[in-house]
Symmetry: C2
Subunit: 241 residues, 2 copies
């Protein structure tokens, strides 16, 4: 705190641009990054609004601000969506790196259960310093994946271009290894853990019950089968090999 008197002055001067970098800005950038997918496509205002639970008008407003920054954080084409500009992508990946490193740290060093790490990381990701980031990465031996199997962006922002596949896409009889699971629903994570489902475990789809019913799944080499709902199965991502 302790706003310096100089600040007020400086802001009314010629500069005006330069990164605000608030929690809200971070969250927009993360949202755009996640929604733009692979290969990268333009993201519509509506999608962002939906993702963040705000109105499209608010989104347009913010996109204009982000595009007006120097350097711009997004490339914004009126009526045609946005994509991240260089600086925006850098920041998004930085936040995601923070998030996943923090999750891993909380789990491995502070013994958090895997269903509690996400919430805490969601806040702290915005406030840790570069130093902190570097120190926990070192402490953890520069991990490549977080507790849910999500890849941690490297310092230069690079990510393995793994195309994760939803388990729901498999056909009965097929097997695959869990690569990651969604991390935002604690209850679901506890349930998955109870079923022995976590990154690295091999799953075999036995059958899908008719009319979009549940999935009967063998977990590892266990003898009895787990019965997983459609929504559950959509949160499990696998690599077939």
């Amino acid at each position: 705190m302790a706003k310096l008197l100089a600040k007020q002055k400086r802001m009314t001067d010629a500069v005006r641009t330069q990164a605000p970098a608030s929690e809200a800005v971070d969250d927009y950038l993360k949202a755009i990054f996640q929604l733009s997918g692979h290969p990268e496509r333009q993201v519509a205002s509506n999608e962002i609004a939906l993702h963040l639970s705000i109105t499209p008008a608010s989104v347009t407003n913010m996109l204009q601000k982000l595009a007006a920054q120097e350097p711009p954080l997004v490339i914004y084409k009126k009526h045609h969506g946005v994509k991240l500009a260089k600086a925006g992508k850098r920041r998004a990946l930085e936040i995601i790196r923070h998030h996943r490193l923090i999750e891993t740290f909380l789990h491995q060093v502070l013994d958090y259960p895997w269903d509690e790490v996400h919430q805490e990381a969601e806040r702290l990701e915005h406030f840790i310093s570069e130093r902190f980031e570097e120190r926990i990465a070192a402490k953890l031996g520069h991990p490549k994946f977080d507790p849910h199997g999500h890849a941690i962006p490297a310092l230069d922002g690079s990510l393995p271009s793994q195309e994760p596949q939803a388990f729901a896409m498999l056909r009965p009889g097929q097997s695959a290894n869990v690569s990651s699971v969604s991390d935002n629903d604690p209850e679901m994570l506890r349930y998955l853990a109870a079923q022995g489902i976590r990154p690295g475990v091999r799953l075999t789809l036995s059958e899908q019950l008719p009319f979009q019913g549940s999935y009967r799944v063998r977990v590892g080499t266990s003898s009895k089968l787990a019965l997983l709902s459609h929504s559950l199965v959509q949160s499990i991502f696998v690599t077939i090999k």
Copy 2:
């Protein structure tokens, strides 16, 4: 983020009170706590303004808000200063506990040098959860002191009522053990470390040069004496025994 639509409505209703608990509020409460000392005395608006580098008008404004909360965070007597109310003292001690636990954690677990922990803790203290606090305390074995020798408030807010004495108060010939050092000036901390001065070390005042000059000090049982400026010596607190 993701402000829920309900919020807007609710705030214009009857409730209105209840804790905002922002970084600024935290910093006011910490300032009042530190300034009110032992035994506790009323703190003047001016002192707070000075401490936080803002104007007295801003302070009055904030004090009124803090006093109006339900429950009140401060007891504010117009023209007669404030002191912390129960809830305010609880919060102040909570933040101070956070701060000192984080400092200790950064130093011991993440190998931060002792001159860098303060800055990082100053930010993070506002954002960690109760869970995080509990976990790092456990990891550290519930430490009683931070790297600068400051006592860490217990969970119930209790603090050892040690009356730390400025080393500057000693008379030539006297010896004392360093209990703590000021933690806000990194350069000074590096200098002290270089002189071997840290909590627990025994200091003997050999002489003070005339006209408020430097202090000649024996550090531990070393043979040669350190020469410390007046301002340096005022940042060192000791217990005589």
